[in-house]
């Protein structure tokens, strides 16, 4: 069964450092997303990406964040200068065309900023 894969599964970084989280969405999907979940809290939307551009972003997704689809398979989230409060589980998701298609999530990257 096709699945969304994320790497790395864990990342520890020092405050102020840049991190890149990587995702390979399901191959025939058209919408790509990043969500995050701070420990013990709800899953929050960060950004959606369609047709090689951001289609929507949340207030969390400030100038420190960027997304890229560098080739036909990868989808990355970059945090330019990490803060302690960026520590969270980051999930990539993808979905197909239309308003009633399932969104499938990866296993997540646990980011710890020290």
């Amino acid at each position: 069964e096709p699945e969304v894969t994320q790497t790395p599964s864990h990342q520890v970084t020092q405050m102020g450092q840049e991190v890149i989280l990587r995702c390979v969405p399901i191959s025939n999907h058209l919408y790509f997303y990043w969500y995050r979940q701070i420990l013990g809290q709800k899953v929050e939307f960060l950004v959606s990406f369609y047709n090689n551009e951001i289609s929507e972003k949340s207030e969390i997704f400030d100038d420190q964040f960027s997304v890229e689809r560098p080739d036909g398979s990868n989808f990355t989230l970059k945090i330019r200068s990490t803060k302690l409060e960026d520590s969270a589980m980051y999930f990539c998701a993808s979905s197909g065309w239309g308003s009633n298609t399932e969104a499938f999530f990866g296993q997540g990257t646990r980011l710890t900023v020290v």
Binding site: Y31, K42, F45, S55, S95, S99, N100, F105, R110
Partner: protein
């Protein structure tokens, strides 16, 4: 309450019993999805129910949707210890145009052997 709020927050049952979790939301939707998350792990898609559907089944899962009350329920029948996880409902935001999902805080289900 916020979009996609589940109740109860926590539920503890014995193996073999049924578990019912509820979700309420505020805005209009195209669909509502339920996900499972084992502790510290990824989100596993369980079921999607469209706004024009009232009930959907998948194995031991039964989902209902009442758009007039803006609520949904997830029923797990004949629960097993392996069903122990957090369960989240998520609603789409048709007015946003990006298909993003808004998640509730989840129900933590514990199934005791």
């Amino acid at each position: 309450s916020q979009q996609g709020e589940e109740d109860p927050q926590a539920l503890s049952i014995q193996e073999g019993e049924n578990a019912t979790m509820n979700c309420s939301y505020k805005t209009s939707i195209n669909n509502l999805q339920w996900y499972r998350q084992n502790s510290g792990r990824g989100l596993v898609h369980l079921i999607l129910i469209r706004s024009n559907e009232r009930e959907k089944h998948s194995g031991r899962l039964r989902v209902t949707l009442d758009t007039s009350k803006k609520s949904s329920s997830l029923l797990i029948t004949a629960s097993r210890a392996a069903d122990t996880a957090s369960y989240f409902c998520a609603t789409d935001q048709p007015q946003g145009g990006s298909e993003k999902l808004v998640f509730g805080k989840g129900t933590k289900l514990t199934v005791n052997p």
